[in-house]
Symmetry: C2
């Protein structure tokens, strides 16, 4: 089934200094208009940090990158879509190494200086001749333009309806610093301590330990707060590449903290994009949960609400069916006093003190129907733990996409 | 949206000695052909045991029954469908008591001798005049026939497409003993330590402690091993009523164990019926998981596979997409060695030693398409923990039913 493309929702960022990118169609996807190989290349060695899936069943590129990050001296990330290189055993690991080596050969660097990402169907071996040809084609068209960046982001897509890009800039000690991130999502999105594919490029000079710490913190507050279907992927990876092209010594002190804040903003924006573009989604659901004992408790309750098929179908049907929301919170496994639950949907109070609150349900239904985003605001007590969690609604289109995915 | 009825899949059991039942349409459901009030009545006092939802947000009838079981001297269970009496605060508790009192008045017993069950929409107050009239109508048509039992079982249904009944008989010390169970499911089915509504009637004489122990064991192996959508209900309840009409002293020794085995068989059969009749389901998915360290580990992994929307849509699309199955096992949170996973679908080996096994995928797809039941057999190690877990597939019909449930 062809996936209809949708317009970009965010302004296209520019490429940070010293990076080039490209995306091409090599033939891993059937549709010749869909890019399936991407390259991100730095003119100078990068510090690299990575955050990965916690799934016990993890893909070969995850094994490959996890063994090498955080670290120094990286020059490129090579990406393919259409094939996840997951559940492919020792041959899959060899293919991941060969993929890095093929990119290194084109770029005149060492295989050990290249990281790899794959996404797509699980359990098929990479078509190495097709992929190797695609890598050479991509290396030949590397560019610094916004269009190069967009094409590379398209090379990461599976059933995404649009590429996901976002960037921020700031000045630190007279140096102009850029952070530009690209990501892909769509389905099998239920990251836990990691995320879907994301690549964050920056020209900031960063120490590897700082890069890893800030990336971990940013993922925790962004990609780990979204779910499309609760199914944690085998391939979740976010990489941060910092090439230092902005000049000067590694960021520290307040500059480093400012970098961390903008990195988090970049990751949060991309994470919300993933929920918004969830397979078949007609609504993005923003869950604002407060009053839990801890942030982990808040996340656990929010995730139970986010992943309930009954909550997700209620929103797709514009039905403010608050019973499904409070009962999902109730089975999350986190203790709270049900009589202290307070629920608002799109600003209207629906439930408090253990009983429904009279309201104009038709107006709430209209507000859900009339907006792409639905806000669920849930107070579960008076503790300090809170979270903002994004989910997408569940539609018949999601079912059709996934019942027919390989046929 | 009207729910199409489907034929019974199981033989109709007979009523155990000393019980009568009835179901009527009182008006809680709009469709006048759908029963919405049921009564189960014993001519002599019963031992009663109950197993209930673990949801922190639980309905008034759960609070009412849980405070009274296990115990002796019960005479009836009164049930309504169409309204769950959940999230209804103190008024909901008063309504549950009034519902018991209304049945007691009709039957000439005390309110404290009546247990109550409700299922349906959350968060609306029971229409007490309608319900009270319905209880009187039901009391007037109580009968011992199979038809009375079926009509009572229909009075428990929400979006179920057929009533669920099953029974077993055996002889203990010359006494003929019957066990007959009725249940309802459809959606919001993800029981944890409890189940959806179920009523098990037996003419066996049982001590209350034995009844509670055997019911708990049976639920653990039956209703706690099914999931339609992973959403644990506010109203999950299974009641066992034992009126001793078979005569003689309370069962003990081998007779009691035999009773327990048949009770478990009854619960397992009804639980499978709930998965088979999950909302919109076109397949029941039987997960045979072995090799875990413990039974709890086995259940956790099986539940992750059962609840994955990607696994459920793959089965509805007749796609043996084993990558989704093994990756769901991988995020369940239970440690295992992914290289030792072995997966068969409908008897065909698909994955072993960390890599796909060549097979005729078209034949596997045809076997899924051609059968109501799909078997997923997953070995996760060499431990003693195993489980049989039932789930249903996810179809566009489930989405339509739940997006439009209240509209």
């Amino acid at each position: 089934m062809p996936i209809a493309e949708t317009p970009l929702q965010l302004p296209i960022p520019h490429m940070p200094a010293g990076f080039r990118a490209a995306g091409v169609h090599a033939g891993l996807k059937r549709n010749p208009t869909r890019e399936d190989v991407a390259l991100f290349v730095s003119t100078q060695p990068c510090t690299a940090a990575g955050v990965y899936t916690t799934n016990l069943v993890y893909a070969a590129p995850v094994a490959y990158d996890r063994a090498r990050t955080p670290g120094e001296g990286f020059r490129a990330v090579v990406v393919n879509s259409g094939n996840a290189n997951a559940c492919t055993g020792s041959r899959g690991l060899q293919d991941a190494e060969a993929m890095a080596a093929a990119a290194a050969e084109q770029l005149g660097v060492q295989g050990s200086e290249v990281l790899v990402l794959s996404t797509g169907v699980i359990g098929e071996f990479l078509p190495m001749p097709v992929l190797t040809t695609g890598i050479a084609q991509a290396a030949a068209v590397l560019g610094e333009s916004q269009q190069s960046l967009v094409t590379a982001a398209r090379g990461m897509m599976t059933t995404d309806t649009r590429p996901k890009l976002y960037g921020r800039t700031f000045t630190a000690g007279g140096r102009a610093i850029s952070i530009t991130g690209v990501a892909k999502g769509a389905a099998m999105v239920g990251p836990r301590m990691a995320t879907m594919l994301g690549v964050i490029l920056t020209d900031a000079p960063l120490a590897a330990a700082d890069a890893q710490r800030l990336l971990g913190e940013a993922c925790e507050e962004s990609f780990n707060c979204v779910s499309v279907d609760g199914h944690t992927s085998t391939n979740d990876t976010v990489l941060l590449l910092a090439n230092g092209a902005a000049g000067g010594p590694c960021l520290g002190g307040e500059d480093l903290e400012e970098f961390g804040r903008l990195l988090m903003d970049t990751c949060r924006t991309l994470a919300r994009e993933i929920a918004d573009d969830g397979e078949g989604a007609t609504h993005v659901i923003r869950i604002e949960l407060t009053g839990a004992q801890t942030r982990d408790d808040a996340r656990t309750i929010a995730r139970a609400v986010a992943d309930s098929p009954l909550v997700k179908t209620a929103i797709s049907g514009a039905d403010p069916n608050w019973g499904r929301i409070v009962s999902a919170a109730g089975y999350a496994g986190v203790p709270f006093d049900a009589n202290r639950l307070v629920l608002h949907v799109n600003g209207t109070l629906l439930f408090a003190e253990g009983a429904p609150v009279a309201c104009d349900e038709t107006a709430v239904s209209d507000s859900i129907r009339g907006s792409r985003e639905t806000e669920i605001r849930l107070v579960v007590g008076d503790g300090p733990g809170s979270i903002t969690f994004y989910s997408s609604d569940l539609t018949a289109e999601y079912v059709h996409l996934n019942a027919d995915y390989r046929t």
